[in-house]
Amino acid sequence: MKTRFMLTAIIALMLGFMGSFTMPADSAAKYTDNEIKTMVRDIQTLNLLNSLNLTKDQMQQMLSVAKEVKKTDDELKNLYDRKYNEMHGVLQEMRTELMSKTDLSDSLKKRYHDAENEIKVKQVEYTDKQKEWGKKMQSVLNENQKVMLKEYQPCLVPVKNIANPERIGQAGNNERIAKMLGKIRKLPDDKYAQAKQMFLEKTKERVKMMIPDDAEREKAVKNAEAAMDKARKMSDEEFELKKDELAGGILPKKAKPADVENNFTKQFLLNPNLASILEAKIKSSGK
């Protein structure tokens, strides 16, 4: 009974740690998916900024770019509002016209394409500006902060463990998995086989969302299995020395985007909400 309870507890803890965050499908939800995504992005931006330890001067320099980002973003959003309204009207007219005719009038086609083109032109301009702002933002960072930006693991819960600060901004650390591995070492063979199977099934599901490449996904699951098996074969001393490394092998690594520096710059440092975030940070840093 006790073993069964322990096994369940281990699996629950490991799976809990590996479990993914899913949104309930509720059409009457108070907040939209986009609003939640925006909030997540802001928190991830904050965790990045906090781990960069920006000086007040750096924050001021970034703020002037961030204000420009915000202004242009607002303008683009206004344009979307206006143009989508316009396009919606044109589309309605198109639908009505097509009820009685087999072709559309040239003026309707032109009005639609004009609205669409205006959006496209602004989008291209915005993308060009983003490149320019991105360069400006990166030039504010020192050589270490640039490395930290590239190595950032987007997270919601800020890093807690200073003993292992190598993984900048990483919320989870290996300690919990290492502890679980310690417990798994003590399980009898049959219970271990059961625990391993459950854990690997969950890992397979988890990597589906994290790693796009089939071969890499398979490799991640095999690594996790190998790490668990290895942990059980080690002496106490060896396990103590290698537990962090083993735990690291168990956690699948989320595939990083290509050109991570520019990608993260765009995602976090060109976040349209960065200006208000920086203003709050500058205010609190003066206290």
Binding site: N53, N144, E237
Partner: protein, 372 residues
């Protein structure tokens, strides 16, 4: 270790220990070392029942059944024994940067070891769960000096590091493991609070290659916790003794808000280091994180550490660093002559090293440290 613990360990050793106890202290090396029991190296017999520990300024007089402040020394049959020999409670594979040692073989991996116990009780101790415990109160491993060396080699370490708690109180293990390391071509490092008498320290410096000693302030009050005689004077003496030994030395200063973060204290510490240990002694200003008895104090603001670094440089310290702030530019080494980036560190990783044969790659000036 209390009397019951001692007797339990002694029973495991059996007659061997009892027989050895009748031999004079010079035979200490030959005593059995199972279960962490070994005759202490630094003590004096007062009478048939009483011994005086000579390891640190506490110089405790102990009799059978009495506990040492460091929790790892006790008396049996008129002799002083340690209970932590070859019994590390922490074993890690860490770069030497973690000690911190920034001018000693950058990027070198070391086998970091610590046993239970400490002769200080610093209120800000980050490792109090190990340092304020006896061997029997926490899980410890069996790792003889030769086994430590073999693990280190197997895991591609270039050194052993004695750290986390207080190597002074496991000096017997530390010396033997350092000797074994040297014989195998490995180096050894000690990270210490520096509360140790000159004689044992002098012996230790013969076998250890690099030291990082913590200087928490220039007044005994800054050490807080249980009162210890002349802490600051002892730590200063330790620093000077290591400097005179010619072994590599770096100094770590923990900056605690409201306790050791005022500009006057920081400037005085920097001046003392420059005057007594030399301008090329690397100094690490470490960020405090709420811990042990100081959970009510917030972590040190990064700005305070940046200011400490500036003050130290102003006082003439050539290599002042910021510690415990991963990725901060204050972790990098810049040439004292041309100010170019020599070593880039993020976390404990070395990303760039522009030191060639101990010299700045850009201006050729000799950079203080041990580079190979």
């Amino acid at each position: 270790m209390d009397r019951r613990d001692f007797l339990k360990n002694a029973a495991i050793l059996g007659a061997g220990c009892m027989a050895a106890a009748a031999v004079e202290p010079t035979a200490a090396e030959a005593l059995p070392t199972a279960s962490g029991i070994k005759e202490a190296s630094f003590y004096k017999k007062i009478d048939s029942r009483t011994v005086q520990c000579k390891l640190c300024p506490l110089e405790e007089k102990l009799t059978a059944g009495s506990k040492s402040v460091c929790r790892v020394r006790s008396v049996q049959n008129g002799k002083l024994y340690v209970s932590n020999y070859g019994k590390p409670c922490a074993m890690h594979l860490d770069p030497v940067e973690k000690n911190p040692l920034y001018h000693f073989n950058p990027g070198m991996k070391s086998l970091a070891l610590a046993t239970a116990g400490c002769n200080l009780a610093c209120p800000a101790c980050q490792n109090w769960e190990m340092s304020q415990k006896s061997v029997n109160e926490i899980k410890s491993y069996d790792l003889s000096p030769s086994k430590a060396v073999s693990y280190a080699k197997k895991n591609e370490c270039g050194a052993l590091s004695f750290t986390f708690t207080e190597p002074a109180i496991f000096i017997e293990y530390c010396i033997d493991a350092s000797k074994a390391a040297k014989e195998s071509g490995l180096k050894s490092c000690v990270v210490s609070g520096g509360y140790i008498n000159t004689q044992p320290l002098t012996v230790l410096t013969r076998y250890v290659d690099a030291f990082c000693v913590s200087l928490k302030g220039l007044s005994d009050e800054q050490y807080g916790g249980s009162p210890r005689p002349s802490v600051v004077e002892t730590v200063k003496n330790t620093l000077k003794t290591i400097r005179q030994s010619g072994k590599w030395l770096e100094v770590a200063c923990l900056i605690i808000p409201g306790k050791s973060d005022d500009e006057k204290t920081i400037s005085e510490i920097a001046k003392w280091i420059k005057d007594n240990l030399g301008e090329f002694t690397p100094v690490h200003f470490s960020r405090f994180y709420p811990s042990f008895m100081l959970r009510n104090i917030p972590q040190t603001p990064v700005g305070v550490l940046e200011q400490a670094q500036k003050l130290a440089k102003k006082a003439g310290i050539k290599y002042a660093y910021i510690g415990n702030v991963p990725g901060h530019i204050g972790n990098n080494t810049y040439c004292h002559s041309c100010n170019k980036l020599l070593i880039q560190r993020v976390g404990f990783r070395v990303l760039k090293n522009n030191i060639n044969n101990g010299k700045c790659q850009f201006c050729g000036v000799k950079i203080p440290g041990v580079w190979s």
